[in-house]
């Protein structure tokens, strides 16, 4: 049930996010978009479990990558992003989830919409599109606080440079690079309408991010005429509207 993974690499994506590469001898393989449960156990037996999306593409290798954003008041994420070292062992359960997934048999246009660390399961889909040799047209709209908070920037750029059917749009909420055409701010209806696939192409949409972001983004996609059953969402965190 719980599998043991050995940490084989650690890589800081941003000042607050770290990618952890685990090797699992009995990993059964996963589908792009799935997540795992990670369990930490203290010497007295106390344990804490949290779910993290898988960032790596499905492959035959026994490797799984997760990217963890450190939450200021978190119980598990500070340990994973600051304490964990190469050769440490971690317990994992999964892969989990059969809804928020992209399979290489899908040929329709794909619209990815990420808010902050919501990019992680979408990155698994982008990476799998490349490794599986898919020609499905992908668009990514990636909303992030500031340029320094972007995960996987160079890799995303390289993938997009190599294949014009993967296009990237960044939207910054607090601080944008100099000369950026759009002032910093939340995503809005115009941005969604101008940068995502038109509904007549019947794209499948994957929206992942904090709850208020997903509520807004999925609502705009729906308002653009995309059928609700083609909009798959994954939310995390509180609603932000009340305690």
């Amino acid at each position: 049930m719980w599998r043991v993974g050995t940490v084989v690499a650690l890589h800081d994506e941003t000042a607050t996010a770290r990618t952890i590469t685990l090797e699992l001898s009995d990993w059964p393989g996963h589908v792009a978009g799935q997540h795992v449960d990670v369990r930490l156990t203290a010497p007295d037996g106390y344990s804490a479990v949290r779910s993290y999306s898988i960032a790596s593409a499905p492959s035959s290798e026994r490797l799984v990558e997760i990217t963890v954003e450190r939450l200021a008041n978190g119980e598990v994420s500070p340990y994973l992003t600051q304490e964990l070292a190469v050769d440490d062992r971690l317990e994992l359960r999964g892969p989990i989830g059969g809804w928020f997934v992209w399979r290489k048999e899908q040929t329709e246009p794909v619209q990815l919409v990420a808010g902050g660390s919501g990019i992680v399961p979408l990155m698994s889909m982008i990476r799998y599109r490349v490794s599986a040799g898919s020609t499905a047209p992908f668009r990514l709209l990636y909303s992030v606080r500031e340029p320094g908070a972007v995960y996987y920037r160079d890799e995303l750029q390289a993938i997009s440079d190599q294949d014009r059917s993967v296009s990237l749009t960044y939207a910054y909420t607090r601080a944008a690079p100099e000369d950026w055409p759009r002032p910093p701010g939340r995503i809005d209806a115009a941005l969604i309408a101008n940068t995502t696939w038109p509904s007549k192409l019947a794209p499948t949409c994957y929206v992942c991010g904090p709850t208020p972001f997903v509520e807004i983004a999925a609502g705009f996609l729906s308002a653009c005429g995309i059928s609700p059953d083609k909009i798959k969402t994954e939310r995390f965190g509180p609603t932000g509207d009340r305690k």
Binding site: R50, S51, Y79, P228
Partner: protein, 200 residues
């Protein structure tokens, strides 16, 4: 045998008998939904109970709100591991809604606006275990939390408490709902930690 995480001590909440295994306390009210939030106008809303062929009972919003209302205090346990204790709801008991329904069905398949569904034994909706809730914390239920009306079956993991409920079909055979067909447990008892398929 668990592997000890070198240097991990955890941030423990006070031991609380109300917390099922593997859950942590939150004071927020997180949201988990598979798709966009449906917005159902009250003048188009209806709730029905059927047997798969015939509608047995049907209410529009006005007639539904005329039914006897109950205040419910419940602990919520989400399969994503947060628990929220002592929440207050208002709604109509399924005992009230099923009072005039004669059936020998053993299962229920609950359908939502937006095509979500979830299954559970009919017994689990009865005897003060299930409600159709319309208010949370003294306010009308917000759309992202399932408004205008959601099922509330707090003794099971929260995905069983279908948001935006529109119909309950009484069944002679158990049929998996949305998450139940996608790797989650068919029953979902938090105290037995029945999260995923295969958990017993």
């Amino acid at each position: 045998m668990a592997i000890i995480s070198r240097g991990f001590s955890g941030r423990r909440s006070a031991p609380d008998a109300k917390l099922p295994p593997g859950q942590y306390l939150t004071t927020d009210f997180p949201v988990l939904s598979a798709g966009p939030t449906p917005h159902v106008p009250l003048d188009q809303w209806e709730f029905a109970i059927d047997d798969g062929t015939d509608v047995l009972q049907r209410w529009d919003w006005k007639s539904f709100r005329e039914l006897p209302n109950e205040t419910i205090t419940a602990d919520l346990h989400c399969v994503t591991r947060w628990s929220k204790l002592g929440t207050t709801w208002e709604g109509v008991s399924l005992d009230t809604l099923l009072a005039n329904v004669k059936t020998d069905a053993e299962y229920a398949l609950v359908h939502s606006y937006g095509d979500y569904s979830t299954n559970l034994p009919l017994q689990d909706l009865m005897n003060k275990q299930g409600w159709i809730a319309v208010r949370f914390d003294d306010e009308d239920l917000a759309p992202e939390h399932g408004g205008p009306a959601r099922l509330l079956v707090p003794h099971l993991y929260l995905w069983k408490s279908a948001k935006w409920v529109r119909r309950i079909t009484l069944m002679h055979e158990d049929t998996p709902g949305f998450w139940e067909g996608l790797g989650y447990n068919n029953y979902g008892d938090p105290w037995r930690e029945q999260r995923y398929s295969g958990d017993e």
